[in-house]
């Protein structure tokens, strides 16, 4: 009896080597499945098996043939395929003699095995597929082709390197449900869960016809990209040269792409559509337009008399209001305008009622934003002095300053009482530094700034806003500031010309630590700052920098197998 019990115990322990979440392997290496309730009991007979999907399907392999079974052990896909990959994002790739296919978690074919290329689905629920002959297309998660075959598009390979094939497929920043294919000039978008499209040619012809009374092959328009979508409306800007008629101009139009993919032109404006060839064209300098917000679009133009004019249009393209100048509505429904009667600046709401009366001579927006920032503060000039107010008319910085500017640091305001020496305040008017800088350079965080101290030589001082410490950098000029990660205190300053040596540049971080100096070229300093800005802080010596440069350059340079390479090309 004892012997029998021993044998049973030892056998049991020997058989079940591996018991983890139902999947187990016997001592012959065969896979089976047994869940805790014994509702699923697949004996150990497969050479390989995966966990069951949420839909109750597992991938199995036996004698080098792959298939799928359900929780009863019945075949969902027969053991006849060359290979089935693990499920990822709800799909598994199936290989057969004919090509690649795709199954869903229920084991159903979404794409039959006839393809040469199947890329993973992106966030928009589309994936790029290719035939074995190299024709490309786009499918949705149901396997339907939403973008026809024959179109060759770009994708990212396993190393996340973009493979450039024309035409390119791009998504609209911030709007993953929209993407367009450059070469075919087709704009795809999702409406009610379905992919729809509109051809850019359609939009172009509309704008061409409306703006220049021509269309088709006699025109050579350059559409300067799609704007992002706002309120379901796209803004399209085109620079157009019309052949044989000496016409050139910029046109702007607002379109409403409807769910039934028809396109409705809301409004267009053209700027000097009949400029003679040879004239200097400065359309982008003088033409402003704003994307839709709170149901209104806005475009600003110079009229034939040279005056600035702004027009507000509604969602139906109807012109609803005019101002001497308007900045476009922000998301909260406020807009800075220049009153058509007194020529002063104020703020209106979406009912075009003044919430701040038009009594300011000039305004400045934070970071040169196109519209009033959401928190509603802005610098304004009144009676010759600058100050800051908010959307409720509350004075944040009193109107006593000869000059003010927004630093690119969050909330910092540069100010000067005499117009010569500058200091800094936060945007609640709290003093950060007194007016002692001859120049203050814009910075990207509120931790430190660079400036030239008034009256103390000409050197750049780095000023730590937290401690009030200022450090002479030894450099004469400030060139640039790069937004950087926390390791760099949020920013990297690029300074140059050390002690009258005109070939010396340095990188200093937002905590005022020297990252790298003795860089011989300004562009190199900017390039290296850009490259390391998001990487962990690594203090780099000049010799490391030289090696870094060599690795970047010499690695691609060719040397003959019998060459003695110059020492300067070797890093060690």
């Amino acid at each position: 009896m004892r012997k029998r019990i021993y044998i049973i115990i030892i056998t049991l322990l020997a058989i079940v080597h591996y018991l983890n979440a139902g999947l187990y392997v016997d001592n012959k290496g065969k896979y089976g499945y047994l869940d805790e309730s014994r509702a699923i009991d697949i004996p150990c007979k497969y050479d390989y098996m995966t966990e069951f999907t949420e839909k109750g399907v597992a991938i199995v392999q036996k004698r080098n043939k792959w298939g799928c079974i359900d929780e009863n052990g019945k075949p969902v896909l027969k053991l006849r395929y060359l290979y089935i990959s693990n499920f990822e994002d709800g799909f598994a790739k199936v290989s057969s003699e004919d090509g690649l296919g795709l199954i869903n978690e229920e084991g159903e074919f979404v794409l039959t095995t006839q393809w040469g290329l199947i890329k993973p689905f992106n966030k928009s629920g589309i994936a790029i597929v290719g035939t074995k002959d190299g024709e490309m297309g786009v499918i949705n998660r149901k396997g339907n082709i939403v973008c026809g075959l024959g179109k060759k598009i770009s994708y990212y390979d396993s190393e996340y390197q973009r493979i450039d094939i024309t035409p390119n497929m791009d998504t609209v920043p911030g709007f993953p449900e929209y993407f367009y294919i450059n070469d075919s000039e087709t704009f795809y978008y999702k409406a009610k869960g379905k992919f729809k499209y509109v051809r850019r040619e359609t939009l172009r012809n509309i704008i061409m016809k409306a703006a220049f009374n021509c269309q088709g092959t006699d025109a050579m328009p350059t559409i300067s990209g799609w704007s992002d979508f706002q309120d379901g409306i796209i803004k399209l800007t085109a620079t157009v040269t019309v052949a044989n008629s000496s016409k050139i101009g910029v046109a702007i139009a607002y379109y409403n792409i409807k769910e039934d993919k028809t396109v409705e032109l809301l409004r267009f404006y053209k700027y000097k559509s009949e400029i003679e060839k040879g004239n200097t064209f400065k359309g982008t300098d003088i033409f402003l337009s704003y994307k839709f917000n709170c149901g209104y679009g806005c475009y600003t133009y110079i009229d034939q008399q040279g005056n600035t004019k702004s027009t507000i249009i509604d969602k139906y393209g109807k012109r609803v209001k005019y101002f001497n100048s308007a900045f476009g509505f922000n998301k909260n429904g406020y807009m800075i305008v220049k009153d058509s009667v007194n020529g002063k600046y104020g703020v209106v709401n979406t009912n075009f009622e003044y919430v701040i009366n038009p009594e300011y001579d000039d305004v400045k927006l934070f970071r040169s934003e196109p519209v009033l920032p959401p928190y509603g503060k802005f610098l304004a000039k009144k009676d010759g002095n600058w100050g800051e107010i908010d959307i409720n008319g509350k004075i944040m910085i009193p109107f006593k300053m000869k000059e003010t500017f927004y630093s690119t640091a969050d909330g910092l305001v540069g100010y000067s009482k005499d117009g010569e020496k500058f200091g800094l305040m936060n945007d609640n008017g709290k003093l950060i530094t007194s007016c002692k800088f001859k120049t203050i350079y814009t910075s990207l965080s509120s931790k430190s700034v660079c400036g030239k101290l008034a009256g103390i030589g000409g050197k750049i001082y780095a000023y730590n806003l937290s401690t009030g410490d200022s450090t002479e950098t030894g450099y004469d000029f400030f060139y640039d500031v790069i937004k950087a990660g926390n390791d760099y205190g949020g920013q990297i300053f690029i300074l140059g010309t050390k002690h009258n040596n005109d070939s010396s540049y340095a990188l200093i971080d937002g905590n005022l630590n020297l990252i790298l100096d003795d860089i011989s070229k300004k562009n190199d300093a900017i390039a290296i700052g850009q490259e390391i800005r998001e990487k962990p802080f690594v203090k780099m010596s000049a010799i490391d920098y030289k090696r870094y440069k060599l690795l970047k350059s010499s690695a691609f340079r060719k040397y003959h197998t019998s060459d003695v390479v110059s020492e300067s090309d070797w890093d060690y």
Binding site: R2, I5, Y6, I9, I10, L13, H17, Y18, V25, G29, D47, Y48, Q61, R63, N64, L82, Y83, S85, E88, K93, V94, S95, G99, L100, G116, L117, I118, G130, K132, D133, G134, K152, Y155, D157, S158, E159, Q161, I163, D164, I165, I543, R547, L550, L551, S554, A555, F556, R557, K558, Y559, H560, T561, S562, D563, V564, V565, D569, W570, D571, Y572
Partner: protein, 411 residues
């Protein structure tokens, strides 16, 4: 009955502890590689091969030890082993320089890279170097043996195989062969039909070859090892290594670079295998080129590792039941491969020793395909994340143990 229960408890406890037992992880030290391309400039796709070479991933079982010069050219059609270049340019001394981050101008050195790759206790290592304790220091000896002495140069001579030319040559050969065979059979049988049929096969074969959509390369990989022994180490630490600028040591290093040498180990020639175009966009030649070149170099590295003891890699066992190890087809593993399982232990001086505890073989049909872009083509086993093994002989195997391929494998 009590005895039975007691016995049962002991057996179960013993097994439970066995399931959960893990040896303390001991990280092994990887070999370091400097990889060079010999580019045949007069050949088709030479520029493409050159462009992709610097983008190719370093074989992931090795540490990158590249110097700034990576691409050599030759107009010669014969393979070049790079030995002339390596010697003329004192590459061995530069590899040593890189290990110690040596400043060419001032001679200053440090041991940051050794500490990083050797996983040494940083403060102890610094103290040891500062005190100039050279002899009899196990940590330094270990660094020498396990790291610096395992520095390799691989010179990859890559040449494009012109499939079209080969197809034409193949077709011509097949046609000649078929013609002769046809004539002979015709003479024997008195019929020309069979001859025609054979000629037809020749043309069909050529047709198949000529329609291969793929890019084929043949790669000669030459392996060199940095010589590093007690004598060289003593010379370096006593005469060259300096934590501060030292002109005399710079002068000595520059005048005596031949004190450091590379030793030729052997070569490997890839088989110029056809690379599947599945998962590859056929409109991007560079993608096919990088796939073909990477796979050929990986194949050569794997075969060099099989053939030369000093270049062998070790890898950790991830799970013990089933036995899964993250190596696969890239390492040229086949169903006939055999591996020894090694138990690593660290002595009181911190040196690692290995003891064989078992022999294992890959399970049929469960070899991981970890070759470059295998996942894109959905190659068999590409999503396994490791190869499954079964034990042929030996004792207990637990996760964390290392495996090393046995040379006697028949592949």
């Amino acid at each position: 009955m009590r005895k039975i229960l007691l016995l049962l408890s002991i057996v179960i406890l013993a097994n439970v502890s066995l399931w959960g037992k893990k040896i303390e992880d001991i990280d092994y030290k990887r070999s370091s590689i400097y990889s060079i391309l010999v580019n045949h400039t007069d050949q088709k796709y030479a520029a493409n091969i050159r462009d992709v070479f610097c983008k190719m991933p370093m074989p992931d079982k090795y540490n990158e030890h590249n110097l700034s010069v990576r691409i050599l050219t030759t107009g010669n059609t014969t393979p070049n082993d790079g030995s002339e270049f390596l010697k003329k340019n004192h590459v061995a001394s530069r590899l040593v320089g890189k290990w110690f981050n040596r400043n060419q101008q001032t001679g200053e050195c440090n041991t940051e890279l050794i500490k990083e790759r050797g996983l040494y206790n940083a403060s102890e290592f610094d103290k040891m170097m500062a005190e100039q304790i050279i002899r009899g220091n196990s940590m330094l000896e270990d660094a020498g043996e396990e790291l610096i002495a395992n520095t390799f140069v691989i010179v990859n001579d890559i040449r494009y195989i012109d499939a079209e030319q080969q197809a034409k040559a193949g077709a011509a050969a097949a046609a000649v062969f078929a013609g002769i065979l046809g004539a002979v059979t015709g003479a024997v049988t008195g019929s020309r039909d069979l001859g025609r049929a054979v000629t037809g096969i020749g043309v069909a074969a050529a047709g198949i070859i000529s329609t291969i959509k793929g890019f084929k390369v043949i790669v000669h990989t030459y392996l060199y090892q940095l010589e590093w022994n007690d004598e060289i180490a003593d010379y370096f630490y006593n005469n060259i290594y300096s934590a501060v600028p030292d002109r005399n040591k710079v002068a000595l290093f520059n005048s005596n670079k031949d004190a450091f040498k590379l030793k030729y180990i052997g070569k490997q020639i890839s088989k110029g295998r056809d690379i599947s175009c599945m998962g590859v966009n056929l409109d991007t030649p560079d993608q096919m080129i990088i796939k073909a070149c990477t796979r050929a170099i990986d194949e050569n590295c794997a075969n060099l590792a099989k053939n030369f003891e000093q270049f062998k890699i070790k890898e950790k066992i991830v799970t013990a039941s089933p036995i899964i190890v993250p190596i696969g087809k890239k390492e040229e593993i086949t169903e006939n491969s055999r591996f020894e399982v090694l138990e690593a232990s660290e002595n009181k001086d911190g040196r690692v020793t290995y003891r064989q505890v078992a022999i294992i073989k890959p399970s049929k049909g469960l070899i991981w395909d970890n070759r470059y872009m295998a996942k894109e083509e959905n190659a068999i086993g590409s999503s396994l994340n490791g190869t499954s093994f079964y034990k042929v002989s030996g004792g207990e195997i637990v996760p964390g143990m290392l495996v090393r391929e046995l040379k006697s494998s028949k592949n």
